[in-house]
């Protein structure tokens, strides 16, 4: 057993932390207020190579593995949830599907510019009636010679409003359903028939794009089928597992930042003649959340280590769900605590805790609600005992 980070990962963290503090943190309040995508930040991240952090060097990536990717997400999550979300949707689910199941030609053509940050990816799974329930997908793809014609639409697509490349899940055989009848496609946003229909107005992560996409007779060449026809569900679930792990890492960063803020204010703010740090209810709350954060940290990096050492079987799916579920809940609790300790300052928009509070809430919902994560975890546990649970 070895719980230390390798020298290259320590160096990477130093780089990412510096970048996050110098380039990301100063913009966090502004992109939230103005509802803006931090394009310039994404460009700089791409320039350094961070948008390809976990992809192989032969496809323009950095080759720092899943651990490196978790480090990136943790450090971004510490300073700006919106930026972390942009990056997570791009690397963690959008480009990840191509990385996991793309053929060498697809990787050369699509993964390389994505890893270099020259293009931005999004992940097209959710529909208005099929969120976590992927079996209800309505977007259809019909074979026509060397192409597929896509009709339908997706909602709540992170990065959807500006992504160049979207991995889209569509039904190719309605008779077969999720297992065998759903296929993943690599779609370029510039193709005719691809339309951004609407941008959502959200409570938090306002520096991100959450868009509704519409496909009308969108012609996709057959070579852009990702993985095998009919096996899109598997591709997407594998990507989601990766995304869940790294969302947990981003939550870890958010929780850590909240803890640091709470501690700072508790040692600064005086009430009734003493600093809040001397109040036992504050001490208890800090001790509890710090323990949870450490547990989360261990979980996240252990699961990242599993990915880096090729242990991505059934157990990984369950652990990735735990990272996302526990991470989002720890982050929410940590930020709630920080807000309570800051009192009035915590609820004014002049101060970043208010933003963190609004931002944090989405992590319990997107990339599969925490209820879905619990179903995933429970079904894995029961499967070990030979029981197939109904969701």
């Amino acid at each position: 057993m070895d719980f230390t980070f390798s020298p290259e990962h320590q160096a990477l963290r130093r780089l990412v932390r510096e970048f996050a503090e110098n380039e990301v943190a100063p913009l966090a309040a502004e992109i939230d207020r103005k509802h803006q995508i931090p394009f310039e930040t994404l460009r700089k991240l791409g320039e350094i190579g961070l948008l390809g952090v976990c992809f192989p060097q032969e496809y323009g990536g950095m080759g720092a593995g899943e651990t490196g990717y978790c480090i990136l997400m943790e450090e971004l999550g510490r300073v700006c949830t919106s930026t972390a979300t942009n990056v997570g949707a791009h690397i963690g689910i959008g480009a990840m599907a191509i990385h996991l199941d793309g053929n060498p030609e697809q990787k050369r053509k699509y993964l390389t510019p994505l890893a270099r940050g020259e293009k931005i990816a999004a992940f097209g799974l959710t529909e208005s009636n099929a969120g976590s329930d992927a079996a209800n997908i309505r977007t259809r793809a019909v074979r026509e010679g060397d192409s597929w014609i896509l009709d339908g639409g997706k909602v709540y697509i992170t990065n959807g409003g500006f992504a160049d490349i979207v991995t889209v899940m569509a039904v190719t055989d309605p008779a077969l359903g999720a297992r065998g009848g759903v296929t993943a496609f690599i779609v370029e946003a510039s193709w005719p028939g691809f339309k951004v229909a609407r941008e959502e107005d959200k409570m938090g992560i306002r520096g991100t794009s959450t868009a509704e996409l519409v496909f009308e007779e969108l012609r996709v060449p057959h070579e852009n089928v990702l993985g095998k026809v009919g096996e899109g569900f598997v591709t997407f679930m594998k990507s989601l597992d990766m995304g869940r792990l790294t969302l947990g890492a981003a939550c870890l960063g958010g929780a850590q930042a909240a803890l640091e803020m709470a501690v700072y204010w508790a040692k600064t703010r005086r009430q009734f003649g003493v600093e809040l740090a001397h109040k036992q209810s504050v001490q208890w709350a800090i001790a509890n959340i710090a323990t949870e954060i450490e547990a989360l940290r261990s979980l996240v990096y252990r699961v990242a280590w599993m990915v880096d050492t090729g242990q991505t079987g059934q157990e990984f799916t369950q652990l990735a769900a735990m990272c996302k579920m526990y991470g989002s809940e720890v982050a929410s609790r940590a930020i709630d605590l920080a807000l309570q300790i800051y009192g009035g300052l915590g609820v004014t928009r002049d101060f970043h805790i208010e933003r963190a509070f609004r931002d944090a809430r989405i992590a319990e919902i997107f990339e599969g609600t925490n209820e879905i994560q619990r179903i995933v975890i429970a079904s894995n546990i029961f499967r070990e005992y030979g029981v197939r649970i109904r969701p």
């Binding site: 390798s6 020298p7 160096a11 130093r14 780089l15 970048f19 350094i48 961070l50 950095m62 490196g68």
Partner: protein
């Protein structure tokens, strides 16, 4: 053209807490960063390299327990890095000037030496002048910016009320102030590869034993560190109350007391 950049490291101040009363530094997170001024020197070298091709060689400003700063320099864009080993860790600037002069000679000389004007932790600023003295080169200290052209270097320095441009013939030593330039970030891929010791970049890092450069006797430090002390704690502020006139009067009175006669 060859530019030698001399770099050191410093404890990341965000990981430490100084307790003056206890006379101790608490290290919460033992992480090192490049000395900010040295990092500016590296940036200056890389800008010269970008503008007119040059070979940038990174050297340590003292003997270090690991090659971390050199790896960072390589990942950021230096062409070669020389890790000096076998000397006393944290050796003083007098000793290091001798070693570095020998190392530069072994490199085949250099046209320009760039380094930080001062260190962040101990405020040392002799390395540049000592190198210039030992090499008998001209020096420009505390520069804000550097550029080279036609066998000369031009540096911007602060001259009282304004800034002036100073020109020196190469070879020369120039030291840069911390914060002079916004340093670039290391390239991610290079960073990963250098620490993993893979790829072309790994070949750029060389290890030179100090004993091959100078005689054994020259490696004995002339400065010994016996302890540390802290400046006195800053006086606590006083909160003035009353009408604006009263507050203004009290503030003026307090200032008058503190002004030197």
């Amino acid at each position: 053209m060859r530019i030698a950049v001399v770099l050191g490291r410093v404890l990341d101040p965000r990981g430490i807490v100084v307790n003056r009363r206890a006379g101790r530094i608490f290290i919460n997170r033992e992480e090192y960063i490049l000395q900010p001024a040295d990092r500016c020197a590296l940036e200056a070298a890389l800008r010269i390299k970008d503008a007119a091709s040059a070979e940038v060689v990174a050297l340590p400003r003292t003997f270090l327990p690991d090659d971390d700063v050199l790896c960072q320099a390589l990942a950021t864009g230096a062409d070669r890095a020389i890790y000096l080993t076998g000397g006393p860790l944290g050796a003083d600037e007098a000793l290091m000037a001798r070693v570095l002069v020998a190392a530069i000679a072994k490199l085949g000389g250099a046209d320009l030496i760039l380094t930080g004007a001062t260190t962040m932790d101990t405020g040392q600023s002799q390395l540049g002048p000592r190198l210039a003295e030992a090499l008998n080169w001209p020096q420009v200290l505390n520069a804000w910016a550097v550029e080279t052209a036609d066998g000369a270097a031009r540096a911007v320095v602060n001259a009282g009320a304004g800034y002036v441009q100073v020109e020196v013939d190469l070879p020369a030593v120039i030291t840069l102030l911390p914060g002079a330039l916004k340093p670039r970030y290391p390239r991610g891929t290079q960073l990963i590869n250098i620490y993993r010791g893979v790829g072309e970049i790994a070949q750029a890092l060389e290890q030179w034993p100090a004993a091959d450069l100078v005689e054994e006797a020259a490696l004995t430090p002339v400065v010994e560190r016996r302890g540390q002390d802290f400046p006195p704690e800053r006086e606590r502020g006083v909160r003035l109350t009353g009408s604006p006139e009263e507050v203004a009067r009290a503030a003026a009175e307090a200032l008058r007391k503190r002004l030197p006669r």
